[in-house]
Amino acid sequence: MHDEFHGDLLEVSMGPQHPSTHGVFRMVVTLDGEQIVKLKPVFGYLHRNHEKIAESTSYLGSMPYTDRLDYLCSMSTNWAYALAVEKLSGQAVPDRAQYLRIIMAELTRLVNHSCLVGFLFNDLGTSFTPLLYAFREREKILDLFESLSGSRMMCNYQRFGGCRVDPSPEWLAAARTLVEGFPRFLDEYETMLTGNEIMLARTQGVGRLDPAHAVNAGITGPVLRASGVGYDLRKVDGYGFYPRFDFRVPLGEHGDTYDRYMMRILEMRESVKILQQAFRDLPAGPVMDPKAKLRGFRPKAGEAYGRLEGPKGELGFYLISDGSPNPWRYRVRPPSLINLTLLEEMCLGHTIADAVVILGSIDIVLGEVDR
């Protein structure tokens, strides 16, 4: 491509240590001037052999490892795993636990989305400020998680057939107060960010993703919905008690970075609605199925694929049991990894500074990408 008008192409390796790649992610970018003509992601810098370890551990023993998969959303990852095991073993879950799971999953979504927006703005060059707001809210939610489960980040809360502990009335009251106050934080956040001129200039029309390609590439979650495809497993599969809740699934229109940002904000508002309904309707009762067996748990031979709508997309667990205490095959379907499939196509023709923003808007966590 060397002629009068085109200089040499430049190949840049971004990462694995790079301030804006959300962990140890690496992209090999070929640049023509400042324009990206080729982009190859390189994975594996956080490949921690989760699946291999899980195949030599008991079913319950893998639960703490699922915390560490997507370390921003341990509660919903726990649930996805519990869901798959319950499907494999046919366990029932008491009503109260179903509600608690939804409460935890939606609180996690609030944590994830608010932090993601903070990180996205970090990538846009705001140098930490929105992140400080997001982490302020995150700390409040983590305090709730900690007082309930004993750990800030690694909650290890769900069990096959229910939840580990029952929250006290004080906990529920505190959680309720937090949720009531959350829309105020969102308003504050949006005042600061949504209409921002630089933000609009940097995100609108950047990193377009068209719906047909997105579906074919298995993109899920807010990234898919920003392109206008209404596929939310909370509605489609109706797992847990989600069919009992009244909420809407926001859809984008342009599939650009700006829509992906708005999707997160709108989803947080819907999550607040779900949480309010959950606190209102939370029934009394046990949180564990009394018949559930935790020690010596051996599901009968067979296989199951359980999936749910995680904050990042479809999080699935595929388990093959051979009737022994350990799964024969334990597979995580990582939404973060698969959502990166079209990263190259989204970045082509943009500048390298935009690539960072596009990556930020996809929302990945490396623990899940590489497992």
């Binding site: 494999l88 067979g302 049991s321 051979d322 022994s324 597979r331 379907r333 990894l337």
Partner: protein, 230 residues
Amino acid sequence: METPEQIRDRLLARFPAAKVELVTNPGTAAEHSLLLDAAHARDIALFLRDDPALRLDYCSNVTGVDWPEKKTAVSAPKTAVPTLVERVDPNALPGTPAPASALGSTRSTPANDSGNYLEAVYHLYSMALKHGPVIIRLRTGNRTDRVTLPSLTPVWRAADFQEREIFDLYGIVFAGHPDLRRLLMWDEFQDHPMRRDYVAPDDFEWEPTPHGDVHERAKGHYPTTEGLKG
């Protein structure tokens, strides 16, 4: 949505030369799957994707599974069940296959065969019609030299990274994949670590806390206690 049996019958009518088998799932989930032969897999996949009644436009999950040769002689279930942590021969060198006893198992998904193949499992859904899953499986001839399967990445781009991962960790070669390289391990790496007979490098030089298998493996590196006795 049609049952797997109906899909199988339709596929057989449409592709008379193809071999399509129903693999039943004895578990509670009862998600049965279709075993396709490698030669027709790409055509069948295209058909499944574009058929107006199915429209399986979304390939959610691609999994590799290793089924080493089943030891039919194993009868005592006590030894056949894999222990809590997988036992490996500490003397084996990295990369050498573990003794067959380490692979003992009472696995039962493919109940009627003796194993010795690698498998790729695809979970298909329809985003347009909001149904699924339809599960298809492909099997290699054996685990050593006949490990090629047709890639379904041209049909579903979603399989791209996942097939690369299976190539990396299981060693299934996906013919027709646009960019088949290792995904997670480095390029110079030679083993396929998710196989059941993979032996990890022995680098547990010191392990102060009892931690099951790690503890056992570390013992080989402990200093002798003879000097301390006297």
